[in-house]
Symmetry: C2
Subunit: 356 residues, 2 copies
């Protein structure tokens, strides 16, 4: 190992220094390369509401490089005591319901109240389509230009669990950077609503008035999760239908069992385009925060969510650790064939695989 | 180990032989005690439709004694090639819908057609209440006395997974004993419908006509699972309301997305008490079997169910193996406290516990 290398392939000198690569600029380049990301100063900057530092930290969180993740963990740990102070709002709705316009109007309403607003997104499909629902920031031009708003396109990832972790950690970073309201948008694909629901304080469902939409389009279970339903595009000719839908949903919601929070979900109408009813929605959310803070449900829910994510993460890892073993992959295939041919039962096969 | 025992506690003689305990009967008793459960002959008897043998095998399946379970596994393996030939029907509905009466009337209808019918039940609550929905066999007196029917009270167990395994294995045994139709009743508590749905070919939802019942009482997702909805107690004054409910449900079902099986769920009315509409329900089921056999969905579904149970069993074991370690239990508690005090994140805590 300590042999001195002598090889014709090694060059020890002889490269001419061109004008561009002057000794000076080489030194600068070396310095830049060596400059390690200083986690301590990054934490301080985040706590000082430095958006560039926040973005850098989020990039570390989203990185696949283990070195970056190690740094990300240090930063998150440093930020943790300063987090947890925002209101986390999840917003969902089928495509076409006007989520972007709503978030822009709602976000502007909040910044006008003096609040600092961060907008994140969970988009499990982005890992497939390589797109991102918030990638096209031009959809929220006014909010992008607002210095009290921070819009971060959705983290991509191979698993919803991975995306969820990144988003959760991004919430922590945003909270430490002093954002009062964190809005998390979901596209309503796959399990994304459940994922978002399990990391927010308040879950808002945007709906459209109109035949069929009440039952179709919307996945079952979503209405159950909603703390409020806002019927959007309640303007012009649509106003009457929106009010009708409001009555219908209010009636339907009363048939659902009461929530643990003792909160009776509210139904309201709004028009994001005409900036109508946005104040009512914020009123509902404020009511909710007050009610659940009083009855302690607010913190109970956050603790439950934390526990859920802890257990969820462990279970996901246990499964992937087991099923990703090449031996298991191979034997699993064989056992499935045996089951198909009535040579074994699923339970005996499971016992066999677990004993490998 | 080979020491000769000499103890004052041992009696070597002196007991008077009463008339009842004659030498002959003592010998018989000894033989009986020593007679080990012969798995080979049990399998043969089951295949010969011997109900006593079937019941003994099911008792082995349900036993908690590892020796019994080992024997159960041998018997199941021996029966497997002869199983898989029945039609498995799941029946659910809220308490009061008339499940027992329905199953009795339906069962008698089938035995009159010359079919052999086994009735099982999944009742996850029985482990808590120590009761069993089919324990009170007097509720199905006519069916109990029918020699072509076999009613087995619900297996109890600590976990729904355990109950499910026992029920699945009982199905295998019943099928090997030549039963053509296996009916599995569920009480509609907790996850029991999902469990039953994942082990039957056809899922029948019993309903009552009447206000509110359409939305209340019934858990969301159940309607989605149903291959047919039968509105029971459609007799007397109730007939009109039942027909109305039928129209409503038919309309509602059309709004749901089409199933993989290409089967459009049917809605019908019946009166188990008056023995009306039972033939229609059997007609629907027969239709379903024909359609799904033609389009191969029948066997595809069974294979998917097997795969589901294989994966499900492995995952459940992985989790319980991990979380039941006393070290993990202790550290989990500590990590949850750290999370609650903002000292760590759920993800960092998960990493920590997994690395223990």
């Amino acid at each position: 190992m300590k042999k001195s290398k002598k090889s014709a392939l090694q060059e020890t000198g002889g490269i001419s220094i061109s004008e561009i690569t002057s000794t000076n600029s080489i030194e600068k380049l070396k310095k830049k390369r060596n400059a390690k990301i200083d986690t301590e100063s990054l934490i301080t900057s985040i706590l000082n509401k430095d958006i560039t530092a926040l973005s850098r930290a989020i990039t570390l969180v989203e990185s696949k490089n283990p070195k970056h993740l190690k740094k990300a963990n240090i930063i998150i740990k440093g930020c943790l005591p300063h987090a947890n102070k925002s209101i986390r709002i999840g917003i969902t709705g089928v495509p076409g319901v006007g989520k972007s316009t709503f978030i822009e109007t709602f976000g502007k309403y909040l910044t006008n109240l003096g609040k600092r607003v961060a907008v994140l997104a969970i988009d499990p499909s982005s890992s497939i389509t390589k797109g991102s629902i918030l990638g096209d920031k031009t959809r929220m031009e006014a909010l992008v230009q607002d210095e009290n708003a921070y819009i971060r396109p959705s983290a991509s990832g191979d698993t919803l669990g991975g995306v969820a972790r990144k988003t959760r950690e991004t919430i922590t970073l945003c909270e430490s950077a002093g954002f009062d309201v964190i809005i998390i948008e979901t596209v309503g694909v796959g399990q994304s609503e459940t994922t978002v629901h399990s990391m927010v304080d308040f879950f808002l469902l945007l709906k459209l008035a109109g035949a069929g939409d009440e039952l179709q389009g919307i996945k079952r279970g979503i209405i159950e999760m909603a703390d409020a339903i806002a019927i959007n595009k309640a303007d012009g000719d649509n106003l009457k239908a929106a009010n009708l839908a409001k009555t219908e949903f209010t009636r339907a919601l009363h048939l659902y069992p009461a929530k643990d929070s003792n909160w009776q979900p509210k139904v309201t109408i709004c028009s994001a385009v005409e900036n109508n009813g946005i104040d009512t929605i914020w009123g509902i959310i404020s009511d909710y925060i007050e009610t659940t803070t009083k009855n302690k449900h607010f913190s109970v829910k956050r603790n439950e969510q934390n526990k859920y994510w802890l257990i969820q993460t462990i279970e996901e890892k246990l499964k992937s650790n087991f099923f990703n073993q090449s031996k298991i992959k191979c034997e699993l295939k064989k056992q499935l064939e045996l089951i198909e041919n009535n040579k074994t039962t699923p339970f005996a096969a499971a016992d066999f695989l677990l004993n490998l």
